[in-house]
């Protein structure tokens, strides 16, 4: 363009254009010469854990003898709805690099990864070469097995307190003898085994263990009220994740874990057990849970439980009540159920209302919203009271704290020997 004003520049511009074409050809040679390629491989678990951050790694191998700049797009499953899996990396000649990112699924099921698109350019940067790498990969998203392992490890190492599990003072003595060990300061004097002390010439105490082989059932309501999502995850999936964790803890503690799910009909039933593959069965059952989120029928659960489970068991019922009226409809069945089993009704605080309850309204409609929101929260507490009045244990928890609260309750009930 300048050559129009300064005609002398025309020849210079043509020369520059020629030079640019030469550089372009050189850049093309650098990128497309034989044997020059970029390899990207995706490394991730075969199964993803629902509701948790799952790590995905991409290994990039630079087979270019020159330094390159790489832009990498991983075609992650569409369910994540993320369009930001887009990384840039500078690689020197023949260098390998690992790119890491996290994926948090909120639905169980099969997820499909696509290709890894790698866009390579040299330091000249006039041409970008594209490589389609990686393979299409199917990944199953299972109920949160990461949480399961986390709590399992903590339980093994007796460090559940770190996760918010309370130590519960035990009431009275357990009667099941476990073994004899040396006395340490703090042991109950009454547990001293005098015969063993005399034999060893050192103070020895008896150790008792909690009662074992008690049945613990996770009863999951798959009805309409469990559809409500918090942080993308539905209450049903929170319940499924928690059921998995508590079943595992129960089995590790020597109890038997089972599973019941229902909505408008009695849906699935896995008898309590503590066989080595019981957890595998529970995981399989929980993975396959589907629902139409219809209206739940609590009468059917009462009838089926009465028919199938004769032995007094701990029933952890995951459901949700938004108002005292919705509880009133189901209360007769819950009361009946609690007569033969130790029933714990687990339902959820509505954390979405927190913003409204803690708001500082500037007008009268805002005041109404604040008080009505508080009324909803108030009704949840009334539900707890009503259930307590009928001898039914409750856990009212924020969805994110569900597993911790349920484990707390389980440990508390065991300690109080209510089961």
């Amino acid at each position: 363009m300048l050559a129009y004003v300064f005609p002398l520049l025309f020849a210079v511009a043509q020369l520059v254009l020629l030079l640019a074409l030469v550089v372009l050809c050189f850049d093309a040679y650098q990128l497309y010469a034989k044997g020059r390629r970029m390899i990207a491989t995706r490394l991730c678990a075969e199964r993803f854990s629902n509701g948790d951050d799952n790590i995905v790694q991409i290994v990039i191998e630079n087979h270019f003898p020159i330094a390159t700049t790489v832009r990498l797009i991983d075609e992650i499953p569409f369910q994540f709805q993320r369009r930001d899996i887009n990384f840039k990396a500078a690689l020197s000649a023949h260098e390998n690099k690992i790119v890491e990112y996290m994926l948090r699924p909120v639905q169980r099921g099969i997820y499909q990864f696509g290709n890894i698109r790698v866009f390579v350019k040299s330091h000249i940067g006039l041409i970008i070469r594209r490589f389609d790498q990686g393979k299409e990969l199917k990944v199953d998203v299972y109920p949160s097995y990461l949480q399961l392992h986390q709590y399992e490890l903590m339980a093994i190492h007796h460090r559940l307190e770190d996760l918010g599990i309370k130590k519960v003072r035990k009431i009275g003595h357990n009667i099941e003898f476990e073994h004899i060990r040396e006395y340490v300061v703090g042991d109950d004097f009454r547990t001293i085994n005098w015969k063993a002390t005399a034999r060893k010439n050192d103070l020895m105490v008896n150790l008792y263990q909690d009662e074992k082989s008690q049945q613990v059932y996770a009863v999951i309501d798959k009805g309409r009220m469990m559809k409500m999502p918090f942080e993308g995850l539905s209450l049903l999936d929170y319940a499924i994740n928690s059921a998995l964790v508590i079943s595992n803890i129960a089995i590790k503690k020597g109890d038997m874990a089972g599973l019941i799910t229902f909505d408008k009909t009695f849906d699935s039933y896995l008898p309590a057990g503590k066989r080595s593959n019981q957890m595998h069965d529970i995981l399989g059952h929980l993975y396959n849970q589907t629902t139409t989120f219809g209206e739940s029928d609590f009468s059917t659960i009462y009838v089926q439980v009465k028919r199938r489970i004769r032995r007094r068991s701990l029933m952890l019922l995951y459901t949700n009540f938004e108002s005292i009226h919705s509880l009133d409809r189901q209360l007769p069945f819950l009361r009946k159920l609690s007569q033969t089993h130790l029933l714990v009704v687990i339902f959820f605080e509505n954390t979405e209302l927190d913003s409204l309850v803690n708001s500082k309204p500037e007008n009268t409609p805002g005041l109404y919203q604040k008080v009505i929101a508080a009324q909803f929260a108030f009704e949840k507490k009334q539900i707890v009271k009503t259930l307590h009045r009928h001898g039914i244990q409750t856990v009212l928890t924020r969805p994110s704290e569900l597993s911790v609260q349920v484990i707390n309750k389980y440990i508390e009930l065991k300690a109080r020997q209510l089961i």
């Binding site: 254009l17 797009i73 075609e75 559809k227 999502p229 979405e352 005041l367 109404y368 508080a374």
Partner: protein, 397 residues
């Protein structure tokens, strides 16, 4: 995607193919536009006239799209005869000067037009009557009612040319018989062809340009009139300009200039090539489609707001205050373990201690609660005051 839509693609391609075939095989419609263009074979083009001049004109015939002004700028002008055929002849002052300049140089300029601007005709002392020209196709096939005859013919002689009246409506009025020579009149006795000697040359005005069209030329012996007319121009070359009817037969966009300048042309082509390469390379999808899925929505807030609105429409502030008071007492009982049924001062002292507020503040709140409880109705201001005071005392606790 392509597989799923192949039926529609075939259907649309078929329809388009049929449409183009229909257009191709349909009989072509006549173009009735008046163009006076040398290459136009339509009724009002001048293809026949051009062919005639090519064969019968003694000298060479040039065609161009130059203005008369441009002709004066040329060192060697092709032809000593200039022919202008158009519907409306208008000239700028420069062109007027150029016309007279050319005539003074010895050129003969024949201007045939339905309308001529008055500056031009006034300078010659003539004027075109009935300046408007309307073409009614339906009447073209009527009787040829107007004839033209040259002044050199006897009044009783049969006119050389006949055409429908609507094609020859104009005629000249002139008031200086000494300045101009009448060359032809129509059968109504009106002057249609005038010759003005100017300097060494002449300007010939014709108010009947339609006589040069194909429509007229192929009719009967009309071509004899045109041949006769051309004989008023001296022998030599004939320069026929189509500018005054068709304008310049070239692109009128700024691109014409850009393409005529090498540096700008290079810049333009480099830009186009660069844009094309960019479009082709960047238009390719960089990753597979991610369909948009609406995540499940927690509608609790909307629900609560709707319920709150329903309460608000009732404007029962007292009812809302009662709910708030219930929440307060519940909070005192469960969170602070204080029974409000105890003696008032005791309760106030305990609440103040637990909330780290002054007893006076707590007492005011309790008095307000009492007042509201005993009222039948309260105002929005009282409701706000209760809620604000409660938040003040309990929220930081």
């Amino acid at each position: 995607m392509l597989k799923a839509n192949w039926k529609y693609i075939v259907f649309l391609t078929g329809v388009l193919a049929m449409y183009f075939a229909l257009l191709y095989f349909m009989p072509q419609r006549f173009n009735w536009f008046v163009t006076f263009y040398q290459k136009d074979k339509n009724p009002f083009g001048a293809y026949v006239f051009k062919t005639l001049t090519d064969h019968s004109w003694a000298g060479p015939v040039f065609t161009s799209n130059q203005t008369l002004y441009e002709m004066t700028l040329e060192d060697t002008l092709h032809g000593n005869n200039i022919l202008v055929l158009c519907e409306n002849y208008s000239s700028t002052p420069e062109e007027l000067d150029a016309t007279f300049k050319l005539a003074n140089q010895g050129k003969t300029i024949l201007v045939a037009a339905h309308q001529m601007d008055t500056t031009f005709t006034d300078s010659l002392g003539a004027r075109i009557n009935r300046p408007s020209f309307q073409l009614y196709l339906a009447q073209l096939w009527g009787e040829d009612s107007v004839g033209l005859r040259f002044e050199s013919q006897q009044a009783t002689d049969h006119p050389l040319l006949w055409l429908p009246d609507q094609l020859l409506p104009q005629y000249f009025e002139w008031h200086d018989p000494e300045r101009a020579q009448v060359l032809a009149t129509n059968t109504r006795g009106e002057v249609v062809l005038l010759r003005f000697p100017v300097g060494q040359g002449a300007i010939i005005l014709s108010s009947t340009p339609m006589v040069f069209t194909n429509f007229s030329m192929i009719k009967s012996h009309n071509h004899r009139f045109v041949s006769e007319l051309l004989s008023f121009m001296p022998q030599g070359t004939l320069h026929w300009t189509a500018y005054y009817q068709l304008g310049r037969m070239e692109a009128t966009t700024p691109l014409r200039y850009i393409l005529s300048e090498p540096s700008l042309k290079w810049a333009l082509f480099i830009l186009i090539v660069a844009v094309l390469i960019f479009m082709v390379s960047e238009a390719r999808r960089k990753q597979r489609v991610i369909p948009v899925i609406e995540p499940p929505k927690n509608e609790t807030l909307d629900f609560v707001k709707t319920i709150a609105r329903l309460y608000y429409y009732k404007k029962d502030h007292k009812d809302l205050a009662a709910k708030k008071i219930l929440h307060i007492t519940e909070y005192l009982r469960n969170a602070l373990q204080i029974d409000i049924n105890e003696e008032m001062n005791e309760v106030v002292a305990r609440v103040a201690a637990k909330t780290q507020r002054t007893p006076q503040e707590v007492k005011i709140l309790f008095e307000q609660i009492n007042t509201i409880s005993q009222s039948r109705q309260i105002s929005a201001g009282e409701l706000r005051s209760l809620i604000d005071r409660t938040d003040q005392i309990f929220n930081n606790h």
